[in-house]
């Protein structure tokens, strides 16, 4: 059973004046732990940056972190390096502690207060819905017993999502192609859209309405909604990167021996950056760490990457020894196999894998190249 995520709009959208945002956010911080996009540090002087660096620096400077006040929120951000995935599925976490002869003790996630992730862009919110499918067990072959990851579920059930329609388009964004943005239809508790002096506030769940208890709201007018639609259309038009998803899963499956893989083998560094910044990558490694006394230890899990050479290694061989096969696994999993496994693409079009690739490999270009040869 898929995690019961907040649904579509339950009631008429509202208006929150920007002047009242601080007041509302302050009330949220009192009642919830609020995670939001903040400026992490001073940005480098613009003089040292070429125009091509702009998008990159923006991404580097903004991160999702717990906030203490509304002033910290950088709601005009384009994208972050890491998606808010890390607050549901930390890069590293201790699952169990153990002591010799005593077995395993679970380390449950610390959940003191209800948590809000504030200002999540549609692509990242959709990525969370995709992770729900992975970790909360819509994978059909699984037996009931093994369907959901307890750690993810605990955090997910304790998390509310305040989505935020993008204001700007990044140079590597292609969410519109993937159908995961710039509009957002479901999965949010609240959806905010910046309409200059005001936010259009759409309510997606009862918890969302609850969050608005202390917000001074007005009714939205048809013009407000029209303004939002115009804004969405403008974002879509501005998006320069595209992927043609028509029959894409089948086309990739038919082109597993396409020359693009062999060519990129010598370019790709297998550094795993793409998988570390990907908001839907879910693979993990589990490792036991013993203390020096050899009496006690922990079982930890950490994000893993299909680019790591030992990822598919077994005794006697490695099923993806070459970088070509590892890059192909990444791309084909997101754009092909995923649809068979989970009924949707595994790529939301956030563009992070392109932004953070040190050698400029672009998933949209790979697909274009294969499609052009596939006819």
């Amino acid at each position: 059973m898929v995690f019961k995520s907040p649904g579509k709009r339950e009631e008429e959208p509202k208006i929150l004046r920007k002047a009242n945002l601080a007041l509302w956010v302050r009330s949220l911080i009192q009642d919830y732990e609020v995670i939001g996009p903040i400026e992490k540090g001073p940005r480098p002087e613009p003089s040292v940056l070429g125009p091509e660096d702009q998008g990159l620096v923006e991404g580097e400077g903004i991160a999702f972190r717990p906030i203490g006040s509304m002033n910290e929120l950088a709601l005009n951000y384009i994208t972050t390096m890491l998606s808010p995935k890390e607050f549901l599925y930390p890069p590293r976490e201790v699952l169990f502690t153990f002591r010799k002869g005593e077995g395993f003790t679970e380390v449950e996630p610390e959940l003191n207060r209800k948590r809000i992730i504030f200002g999540v862009h549609p692509c990242d919110l959709n990525a969370i819905l995709i992770l729900d499918r992975v970790f909360l067990g819509s994978y059909e072959a699984c037996t009931e017993l093994s369907r959901s990851d307890g750690y993810y579920r605990a955090r997910r059930e304790n998390t509310l999502l305040v989505a935020l329609t993008c204001s700007r388009v990044g140079e590597n964004c292609f969410c519109a192609s993937m159908g995961f943005g710039p509009s957002l239809e479901e999965g949010y508790d609240l959806l905010l859209t910046d309409l200059n002096d005001r936010y259009l506030v759409e309510i997606g769940s009862i918890s969302g309405r609850e969050m608005l208890k202390k917000a001074p709201l007005e009714e939205a007018t048809p013009q407000d909604r029209e303004t939002k639609e115009r804004k969405l259309r403008a974002l879509e038009e501005e998006m320069s990167k595209t992927v043609d998803t028509q029959d894409l899963p089948q086309i990739l499956r038919r082109n597993l021996r396409h020359p693009v893989w062999a060519r990129l083998k010598d370019i790709c560094l297998a550094c795993a950056n793409c998988t570390m910044v990907c908001p839907t990558c879910y693979c993990y490694d589990m490792v036991d760490r013993m203390e020096l006394d050899l009496e006690k230890g922990v079982r930890e899990r950490a994000w893993d990457s299909c680019f790591n050479p030992e990822f598919a290694q077994v005794h006697g061989g490695n099923f993806r020894a070459g970088r070509d096969s590892r890059l192909r696994q990444f791309v084909c999993h997101k754009m092909s196999y995923w649809t068979e496994q989970y009924g949707c693409f595994g790529c939301v079009g956030c563009g992070r894998c392109i932004t953070w690739c040190p050698v400029g490999i672009d998933i949209t270009e790979i697909i274009r190249e294969i499609r052009s040869d596939a006819g």
Binding site: L95, G103, V134, C283, V287, C332, H333, W338
Partner: protein, 309 residues
Amino acid sequence: MRNPLKPRDAVIMAIKRETYDVLTYTLVLKDGGEFSFKPGQFNMVGLPGMGEAPISISSKPSRLPLSPSTEPFDGPLVLWPQGQRAQDKLRTSAVEVRESFDHTIRSVGNVTRALANLEEGDEVMIRGPYGSSWPLDEARGKDILIVAGGIGLAPLRPFIFHIFENRADFGYLEILYGARTPDDMLYTQEFPQWRKQEKVKLLLTVDQVPEGEAWEYGIGVVTELFDFVEIPPASGIALTCGPEIMMRFVTMGLLQRGFSPGRVYLSVERRMKCGIAHCGHCQIGPKYVCQDGPVFTYRALRGLPDTLL
């Protein structure tokens, strides 16, 4: 918290040496809880501090109960209770009669080498069973050809015993078993018993025989035994497990002889961390070996990347 990653304690009741690097462990869950599995499934077997490894279950599926009056037919002769240490471990529990199950493990990796150092009465951690099983229903009424290589006989053993126990439900059983040397063959002490069963043929071959060692069976790769197969492909179903490169040639040979891709079943091995389709390691194209597999038809795997098949 409902947690599928939490392992259960199991006590080693007996250890039987199969070859110089393979041991069969007979395990009983310490919590006394139920453990039932289907032939072909596996457990994540672990040791605190060492981690876990996916290991197929090699005992017959219905070995119940383990008690003083029962001598399991399939494998190590376990008398209840055997050994003071194992006895002490379980005395704390009120449960007197328990199911046991076997893992036949070759020590080649970190976890399996650590397991090789354990003794009867020691504890291991178990999660499972996971994965698909051999085609119990599809095989009913059919002749069955089993082709195994080396340690690959272990996951097939439960199915072989399933056939022996339900002999009328199945047709002829032909087992082709290859190993590197005679010393690498598993379960050789049981072979006379296997051969005594009805409608069974067991053919053995090895790659080489060490000098001075007696060997009355075949020498060569396992596919060379295909010439002795009598099961007609039309009525047969084939099950294979072994090194992937071996399964490649077995599958090719079977297809050449007229077996259809949907009637050839393979049990494949991949790296695994979770066993529940979360950690991502075991994927072959869209398949999770841990949940869709480890047993697949060749039809399901045909054309997928990153295999030797």
